[in-house]
C-alpha cells in the first residue's frame, strides 16, 4: 500500500515539475513552429503586424492588423493561394471574432485567386471571451495546404468568462441576446421529448422477460407470445406519433421562424495592394546555413535602379526580423512593443553597409545569426525535399521610405565551424 502511495506521489510530482518546467520556458511551444521552414520562409511573409493591446478584459476588443507578401518562389509542395481564408490562430475560441477584412473587403467568407508576388493587408477585430494568457497570431488558411501562421504576441485576458456577451438582432426582427446559448434550450427540449418517447418504447419491451426467455420461446415457434395484438396496436400509435410529431415540429418551427435563409457560401475577391515601383534588382548568389553557429549567410548582387541612394535595413523571414542596428530608419520600423523574441538580438550583419548609389551594383553578404533559428525550428530545412530559403529585404532611402524586395534561393548546410 505504502509503495503505491509512494509511486503516486512520484507520478504527481513529476507531472507538477513537468508543468512548471514548461511554464518556465520563455516561449511556450506552439503549433506555428511545427511548420516546415519552406512553408514559413517561402509562402506568406508577414510584416507590419500590430496588436492594439496586450492586456484586456472579457468583452473588450483587440485589433490585429498587418500585411503579408505572398512569396514569388512559391514552393511546389504548397497549393497556390487560389482559395484563402483569413483567420487568426489562438488556442480555441478564446477570442470571439467581430469583424475581419482583407484589403478592406469583409473576410467572413473565403477569398479566391490571391496572387503570388503581391501584398495584402488584413485587419481583424477580436473580442476577449475566456480569461487567460494567449498567443495571438494572424493566420491565413490555403485550400489544399492548410494554415500559414504569422507572428504571435502574448495577450493577457482578465475578467470572467460569464461576463462575455455577443448579442445580435436579426433582419427579421428577432433579438438574439446571446449567441452562445441562442436556441439551445429549445433544441434540448425537443431532444428530450424525443428521448422520452423513445425511452418509453424501449421500456415497454425490456420490462418483460427479455433475451433468453424470448430466444427460447422463439425457438419453440411461439412468436405469437412475443408480439401481442396490444404491441402491434402500440406500434401503430408510435408510428403515427413519430411521423405526426416530426411534421408538427416542422410546422411549429416554420410558423415561429417564417423567414429563414440557407447557409451562406461562396468566395470573395479583392485585387492585391498596388505594386510599389521596384527600386532594386536582386541577384541571389548563394546561401549557407552554419549549423553549429546558428547563422545564415547569404550573398547577393544588389543593383539600385532608383534615383536615390539606398541602404539595407532588414531581412525578414519566417516572422523573425533581422534588423540593421546601424540604420535608424530600420530600427524605427520595429514598433517598440513588437514581440522581442521575434527580433534577432544580434541584428543583421552586412558585409558592406555603405549606401548603394543610384545605378550601382554591389555584392553584399548578409549574416543572420540568432538562436531563433533553433528555437523556431527553422534548421529543419536541412531535411526538406526543397532546400531553399526565402525572405524579404527592406531597403530604406535617405528620407526613411521603405522599399521591399524579395530574395531567396537554394541553401547549403555547413556542419563544421568555418
Amino acid at each position: 500500500m505504502a509503495a503505491i502511495v509512494r509511486a503516486w506521489k512520484l507520478v504527481l510530482s513529476m507531472i507538477v515539475l513537468g508543468a512548471l518546467a514548461a511554464e518556465a520556458l520563455p516561449v511556450f511551444a506552439h503549433g506555428e513552429r511545427a511548420q516546415e521552414p519552406y512553408l514559413r520562409t517561402r509562402t506568406a511573409h508577414w510584416y507590419d503586424v500590430t496588436w492594439s493591446a496586450d492586456k484586456l478584459s472579457v468583452n473588450q476588443e483587440i485589433v490585429v492588423t498587418g500585411k503579408f507578401r505572398l512569396y514569388s518562389d512559391w514552393p511546389d509542395a504548397v497549393q497556390l493561394p487560389e482559395t484563402v481564408f483569413v483567420s487568426n490562430a489562438t488556442p480555441g475560441p478564446v477570442f470571439a471574432r467581430v469583424d475581419s477584412y482583407l484589403n478592406g473587403v469583409p473576410a467572413r467568407q473565403s477569398f479566391r485567386d490571391l496572387e503570388v508576388g503581391r501584398d495584402y493587408e488584413y485587419k481583424m477585430v477580436l473580442r476577449a471571451r475566456i480569461p487567460g494568457r494567449y498567443h495571438v497570431h494572424p493566420m491565413i488558411a490555403i485550400k489544399g495546404s492548410g494554415p500559414l501562421v504569422g507572428p504571435g504576441r502574448w495577450i493577457n485576458v482578465g475578467g470572467t468568462a460569464d461576463d462575455f456577451n455577443y448579442s445580435l438582432t436579426a433582419i427579421s426582427g428577432e433579438k438574439i441576446d446571446d449567441l452562445e446559448t441562442w436556441g439551445v434550450s429549445a433544441a434540448l427540449t425537443w431532444h428530450s421529448i424525443w428521448l422520452v418517447i423513445a425511452a418509453a418504447w424501449i421500456l415497454w419491451w425490456v420490462r418483460r422477460p427479455l433475451l433468453i426467455p424470448r430466444y427460447l420461446a422463439l425457438k419453440k415457434e411461439r412468436e405469437d407470445l412475443l408480439t401481442t395484438d396490444t404491441d402491434i396496436k402500440l406500434g401503430i400509435v408510435v408510428l403515427v406519433v413519430a411521423v405526426g410529431l416530426a411534421f408538427y415540429g416542422y410546422n411549429w418551427a416554420q410558423s415561429k421562424y417564417p423567414r429563414t435563409v440557407p447557409l451562406q457560401a461562396g468566395t470573395m475577391y479583392t485585387p492585391p495592394l498596388p505594386v510599389q515601383s521596384p527600386v532594386v534588382k536582386i541577384r541571389f548568389q548563394e546561401a549557407k546555413y552554419d549549423v553549429p553557429g546558428r547563422s545564415m549567410r547569404m550573398v547577393m548582387d544588389v543593383t539600385n535602379i532608383s534615383d536615390k541612394p539606398l541602404r539595407l535595413g532588414e531581412f525578414a523571414t519566417a516572422s523573425i526580423r533581422f534588423v540593421n542596428h546601424q540604420l535608424p530608419a530600420a530600427k524605427a520600423n520595429v514598433a517598440a512593443n513588437y514581440p522581442a523574441e521575434l527580433v534577432a538580438r544580434n541584428g543583421l550583419g552586412i558585409s558592406d553597409d555603405s549606401e548603394i548609389k543610384p545605378g550601382e551594383t554591389k555584392q553584399i553578404a548578409i549574416d543572420a545569426t540568432d538562436a531563433a533559428w533553433e528555437i523556431e525550428r527553422l534548421t529543419s530545412f536541412l531535411t526538406d525535399v526543397d532546400s531553399k530559403v526565402g525572405g524579404l529585404l527592406f531597403f530604406f532611402d535617405p528620407e526613411g521610405r521603405r522599399h521591399i524586395a524579395e530574395v531567396g534561393g537554394p541553401i547549403l548546410p555547413v556542419f563544421k565551424k568555418s
Partner: protein
C-alpha cells in the same frame, strides 16, 4: 408480471432460478450493449458524417440532409436485425438513436464546451429518433426485413429533416453582418473561430440540386430515402452476419500439430 410474461417464461421452460439469472444476464447485456454501441455509433457517425453534423454552420440543405441519415442508419439497422431476428424485439433502431444522441451531447458538453471552449450553439446535433421509432414500428407491423427496408428505410430518411428543423430553425434566421446576409449559424461559425477549420472546407449546396429553388431539402431527403432503403438491406445483413456463430471443425493437420491426434 403480466399473463403474457408468465406465459413466455413458461414456454421457455426456464426454472425459477434460471428466469432470475436470465434477468440479471439481461441487465449485463443491456449495460454492455449500451456502452459498446454508444461508442461504436458515435465513432461511426463522427467518421462518416463528420463536420456535417458537428457544426451548426455545416448543416446545409443538400449534403447534411443526405449524408447524415444514410450514415446514422447503418449500425442501428444492424442492431435492429439482431434484436428482431433472435428476440422479436422491435427496438434496435430506437436504441441506436437514443444511444447516439446521449453520446453526442456528452461529447458536446465535455469535449467541446468544457475542454474546447465552444458554445453549445456551435454543436447542436441532429437526432434520428423520429425515423428510428417509425422504422421499428414499421418492422413490428409488417414483420418483414424487405418491407422494413423499403418503407422503414425510406421513412427514416424522410423524417430526418422535419424532425430536426424544430430545433434548428432558429439558427437559420437572417442576420446582417459587414453588409452581407448571413444565417445565425454562419455567424456562430464566424464568431467562434476554429483555427483548424477554415471556412472554405465547408461543402454547402454544390451542384445542380440547389437550382430546385427552395425544394432542395426535400429532393435531398427523397434521395437519402432511396439510399437508405439499400443501406438498410445491407446493414440488416451485416447485423445478422456478425451475430451468427459457426463452429468449424479443425483440420486433422491442425489437430496433429497441437498434439490432439
Amino acid at each position: 408480471m403480466s399473463p403474457n410474461s408468465r406465459e413466455i417464461l413458461a414456454v421457455s421452460e426456464l426454472p425459477p432460478e434460471g428466469a432470475k439469472l436470465s434477468r440479471i444476464w439481461d441487465w449485463c447485456v443491456v449495460a454492455a450493449v449500451a456502452l459498446l454501441f454508444m461508442g461504436a455509433i458515435h465513432l461511426h457517425v463522427m467518421l462518416t458524417v463528420g463536420d456535417w453534423d458537428m457544426f451548426i454552420d455545416w448543416k446545409d440543405r443538400q449534403f447534411w440532409v443526405l449524408v447524415t441519415p444514410v450514415s446514422m442508419l447503418m449500425i442501428p439497422a444492424a442492431l435492429q436485425a439482431v434484436f428482431w431476428h433472435y428476440f422479436r424485439l422491435p427496438i434496435g433502431m430506437t436504441l441506436g438513436a437514443v444511444l447516439l444522441l446521449i453520446a453526442t451531447w456528452i461529447t458536446r458538453y465535455v469535449g467541446w464546451h468544457l475542454w474546447g471552449y465552444f458554445p453549445f450553439t456551435m454543436g447542436v446535433p441532429a437526432t434520428m429518433i423520429a425515423g428510428a421509432l417509425a422504422c421499428d414500428a414499421i418492422l413490428l407491423i409488417v414483420r418483414s426485413s424487405l418491407l422494413t427496408s423499403t418503407f422503414g428505410g425510406f421513412v427514416f430518411a424522410l423524417l430526418f429533416y422535419p424532425s430536426n428543423w424544430a430545433s434548428l430553425a432558429p439558427y437559420f434566421i437572417p442576420i446582417e453582418h459587414q453588409g452581407m446576409v448571413a444565417s445565425v449559424a454562419d455567424m456562430i461559425g464566424y464568431v467562434f473561430p476554429r483555427s483548424g477549420t477554415p471556412e472554405y472546407i465547408r461543402m454547402i449546396e454544390r451542384g445542380t440540386l440547389r437550382t430546385y429553388e427552395g425544394t432542395t431539402v426535400w429532393i435531398s431527403s427523397f434521395f437519402a430515402g432511396v439510399i437508405c432503403i439499400f443501406m438498410h438491406m445491407l446493414w440488416w445483413r451485416i447485423g445478422l452476419a456478425f451475430s451468427t456463430q459457426r463452429f468449424v471443425d479443425s483440420s486433422k493437420r491442425f489437430k496433429k500439430f497441437v498434439g490432439l491426434a
